[in-house]
């Protein structure tokens, strides 16, 4: 017998709401398959199952919010019967705490998602629920309710995410002794190389400047492992460079989905991975297994005209790299002052895990790699 439980997407998550089942009893599932969508403080997340088998029973209905660890579904392996699985589950001593006593409103997944997006409040939902035929509230009713609601109503999902970001950053500032370094990089050689390369390629194979930066950062991290990992009572090096990319969401809020083994990806694959996580982060298609994986974060505020980023480390990580705006500025090359495109590269790192000397060497190495993209 196997159980499929509400996953934890970080220490700050205590519950999640089931918004959609993608499987039904009797369906065969494979390890890694996305079987459900769960609404959390970090947005709507696709949740994968970690064992193969056949779904016996879905224990939590759509629309219900349950604590982390609650069994959501039962699964049988080869040679087991549904009855055996149910009996084993009933006899299992370890049970997640009972969900809070709450009347699960009957909402279609679309209606629930809409309600959260449009910021329709609980009282309004309750009212709709009472008056709706059969108690089933539709998406159209939610939209009508949202239009009727005061325009100042805050989107509930964005508020929850604000709280999640706030809790993580408060912990960071409380616990992590940050040190900060900045290093100006001459990006002219890298950008010229990139532009020549992009000119020969179709538009959907065009590389973003940030891809070059991330490529150099990931490679340099391999040589400076004390910047990539976690602080858990002590420093734990990451098993691989999994680089989180900070993505600002349009409704407000922030997520940092990881690019796994970013140091091993060639430029085209890395570019594709960056576009993929960025797009999925905004469309709400991140997977549960993508949280708490990143060993370091890169935050790029260069599109908004920022010169220098003073990053706040995402716990339990130990470093964050900031990218400012690429600007044409005077720069000394040989004996001449010439216009070059420059970027301010910054590092905020945990002084418990590394020293400024290490951080300085890391930034210098990123700079060095960016001077010779043609040999990558």
């Amino acid at each position: 017998m196997a159980q499929f439980n509400m996953p934890s997407l970080g220490a700050d998550m205590d519950a999640g709401e089931l918004v959609e089942w993608l499987v039904a009893p009797g369906d065969a599932v494979e390890r890694g398959q996305i079987v459900a969508v769960v609404e959390t403080q970090k947005g709507a997340i696709d949740v994968e199952i970690f064992e193969s088998g056949t779904i016996v029973e879905l224990l939590v209905p759509v629309g219900e919010k349950v604590p982390v660890g609650t069994t959501l579904a039962l699964l049988r392996g080869p040679g087991e019967t549904d009855e055996q699985v149910r009996e084993a589950h009933a006899a299992a001593p370890e049970r997640a705490p009972a969900p809070p006593d709450r009347d699960p409103r009957r909402l279609s997944p679309r209606a629930r998602k809409l309600a959260a997006e449009l910021g329709v409040d609980e009282a309004t939902l309750e009212e709709l629920h009472q008056t709706a035929p059969g108690g089933v509230v539709t998406g159209e009713q939610i939209e009508a309710a949202a239009r009727a609601q005061a325009p100042t109503a805050k989107p509930a999902a964005a508020t929850a995410m604000r709280e999640a970001v706030g809790a993580a950053m408060a912990r960071s500032k409380r616990e992590i002794p940050h040190y900060y370094l900045a290093h100006t990089v001459d990006l002219e050689p890298a950008l010229q190389w990139l532009e020549a390369r992009n000119a020969e390629r179709p538009i959907d194979a065009r590389l973003l400047p940030v891809t070059l930066m991330i490529h150099a950062i990931a490679r340099a991290l391999v040589e400076h492992p004390t910047l990539s990992g976690f602080w858990r009572e002590g420093f734990v090096a990451g098993e691989g460079v999994h680089l989180g990319v900070a993505v600002a969401l349009r409704g407000g809020g922030l997520v940092n989905p990881p690019i796994r083994h970013a140091d091993r990806l060639e430029l085209d694959a890395l570019n594709k991975a960056i576009l993929d996580v960025g797009t999925r982060a905004r469309a709400g298609g991140l997977r549960a297994s993508e949280f708490d994986v990143a060993t370091i974060t890169v935050t790029n505020l260069g599109d908004r005209g920022v010169d220098t980023v003073f990053g706040v480390i995402v716990p339990p990580q130990v470093a964050i790299v900031g990218l400012g705006t690429v600007r044409r500025r005077p720069w000394v090359v040989g004996e001449a002052v010439v216009p070059r495109r420059l970027i301010e590269l910054t590092l905020a790192a945990d002084h418990r895990a590394s020293d400024g000397h290490t951080g300085a060497r890391f930034l210098a190495r990123v700079d060095q790699l960016l001077q010779t993209p043609e040999v990558w």
Partner: protein, 77 residues
């Protein structure tokens, strides 16, 4: 479909929450709609799919506004 509509739909596919009805033709799209460089590339990919016109990087300064995009695509479509 009218070209303007095609371009607005390409933008909407990347920034679905944008209020495109209120978009000023002369406003900087990236600033006005809060598009980052990845979004902007995705808009241009969508425009290529819808109209067949591809904007090379060296022409980015010409397509910073809706009016610029319209002129650019119209001249080459």
């Amino acid at each position: 479909m009218e070209l303007r509509q095609q371009i607005l739909e390409s933008i909407a596919s990347v920034a679905p929450e944008a209020e495109l009805d209120a978009l000023d033709d002369a406003a900087d799209l990236r600033d006005e709609l809060d598009l980052d460089s990845m979004d902007f590339l995705n808009v241009l990919i969508a425009i290529k799919a819808a109209t067949g016109v591809e904007v090379p990087e060296r022409d980015y300064p010409q397509v910073r506004t809706l009016a610029g995009l319209l002129d650019y695509v119209r001249a080459r479509g």
